[in-house]
Every structure is written in C-alpha cells, then in structure tokens.
C-alpha cells in the first residue's frame, strides 16, 4: 500500500530534494521504519527514543497524530501524511 509523505525543506537532504515520497506501513511507526530503509538518517530526525520529537508534527489526513494515537496511528492505502517541523522558539 502506498502512502504519500510530504517532506519539509529541512528534511529534503534525506530525500534527494524530493518534496514528497511514497512509503508503506500499516501504522506511523511502520511508515517511519520504511522511510528509514529508503532515506537513511531520517528516523533520527523524527523520533526521540520511542516517541515523536516534541517539535516535529506529523499529520495523517490533516489530523495531528498526537490526537489519534501517536506512532500507533493506523494507515490505509491512499492516506496522506505530512511532516512539518514546529515553528517555535522564544526567549526562554
């Protein structure tokens, strides 16, 4: 099953500059393993240990996976995944 994954600018060095790549997996966790297999190094930029990094947002069909089960969020053929780094900072 093919899932389109939108890649943010800062991670495009891992995808030869591609803005979107096709990946597979029945869950976000599997999808990330599949991405890593084809784009080595990307996993470390998405995960902090066993969790999605605090300042990385992953959406499945426009839903932030923080609200849909995190890495266990299920995927079906034709789903769209978007990865976006948080826009955040501040004096602290």
């Amino acid at each position: 099953m093919a899932i389109e994954v939108r890649i943010p600018t800062i991670l495009r060095p891992y995808t030869d500059g591609e803005r979107a790549v096709s990946a597979e997996g029945a869950s976000i966790a599997e999808l990330i393993e599949n991405l890593e297999a084809n784009h080595e190094g990307i996993k470390e930029r998405l995960l902090d240990g066993a969790d999605v990094r605090r300042f990385v947002n992953i959406y499945v069909n426009d839903e932030d996976i923080r609200f849909t089960g995190g890495l266990a969020t299920e995927l079906s053929d034709g789903d769209g995944v978007v990865i976006l780094p948080a826009v955040a900072g501040g004096a602290a």
Partner: protein, 157 residues
C-alpha cells in the same frame, strides 16, 4: 543572501503586532513566492503558548498555513517573533528550534518600554542554519523594484 529586503508596511505591521501582544511573545510569517526571497504576504499567527518567554504556532494552524502556501507556490520568507524582556537576538531555544534554513528569522524586542507606541524598537534579522546564527542587514523599502505580487496583510488563521 546577507540582506533582508522588506517593505516598510510589513515592518510596521510586525512591530504593531509585537506591541499589541506584549508582554506575551508575538509570532507570524511573511510568505513570498518560492525562490524569490521576497516577503509579500504577512500572516499573523496565534502564539499557542501564550507566553512571555515562548512562542509556538498551533499545530493545526501550522498545517493550514503550509497548505495555503503550497497552493500559492509560496514559502515562509520571513519568520518573526518578539522577545518581550530580552534583546532581539536568537536565544538558545530559537537556535535549536529553527527549522527553515531558507527563512529570514526576524526578531523584535519590546523590552524596556519599547512596547509603547512611537518609541525606538529593535528590529533585527538573522539566518539560522544548523543552529548557527548569522545576523544580516535589514533594508526597508517602500516598494520592491521587481514586485511579483501585491503585498497584503491579513489576520489569520
């Protein structure tokens, strides 16, 4: 690219936004055509952290913003926020979280009474790549000589 060229109306709008949200940090972007390095569309964002020391775009707002820019063939040319009690220089947090290597990171400081209308205010711009900060000159213009789209300011989302 060691200069940020930006319209006066956008500088004024960013400063007004920072003053309005003081003492919380204000944040937003100015989008522009991909590859143009020309900020043309100002979008004020809500600081979901609503904090005097931190800012973060709401994750839903962020997705809508990037979809809209995608549809318009735009990218974030300027990403701005205010510091309300410290100088207009990227903090360690700013450096570590900067994730748009092509953007100009603009900081304004409303400290020491600069939140008041008509006072001097620091408005500075930086590139932040791999947590490395490089300050750049800010060139304020009334109009772009090779303007690509009509500038506009909107309050969204």
């Amino acid at each position: 690219m060691v200069v940020l060229t930006i319209l006066r109306e956008h500088v004024d709008a960013i400063i007004a936004h920072a003053r309005r949200d003081h003492p919380d940090e204000a944040c937003g972007i100015i989008a522009g055509p991909i590859g143009s390095d020309q900020p043309t569309r100002h979008i004020e964002m809500l600081n979901a952290a609503m904090s005097p020391t931190f800012y973060e775009f709401d994750s839903g707002d962020l997705l809508r913003l990037y979809r809209e820019m995608d549809d318009n063939d735009e990218e974030p040319v300027v990403i701005y926020h205010s510091h309300t009690a410290t100088e207009a220089f990227p903090s360690r947090t700013d450096q570590n979280l900067a994730a748009e290597p092509n953007a100009h990171y603009v900081l304004v400081s409303t400290r020491d009474g600069a939140d008041a209308e008509g006072t001097e205010i620091d408005f500075r711009s930086y590139r932040i790549v791999d947590s490395e900060v490089t300050e750049e000159e800010v060139q304020v213009v009334d109009r772009y000589t090779n303007e690509r789209t009509t500038p506009q300011t909107e309050v969204a989302p």
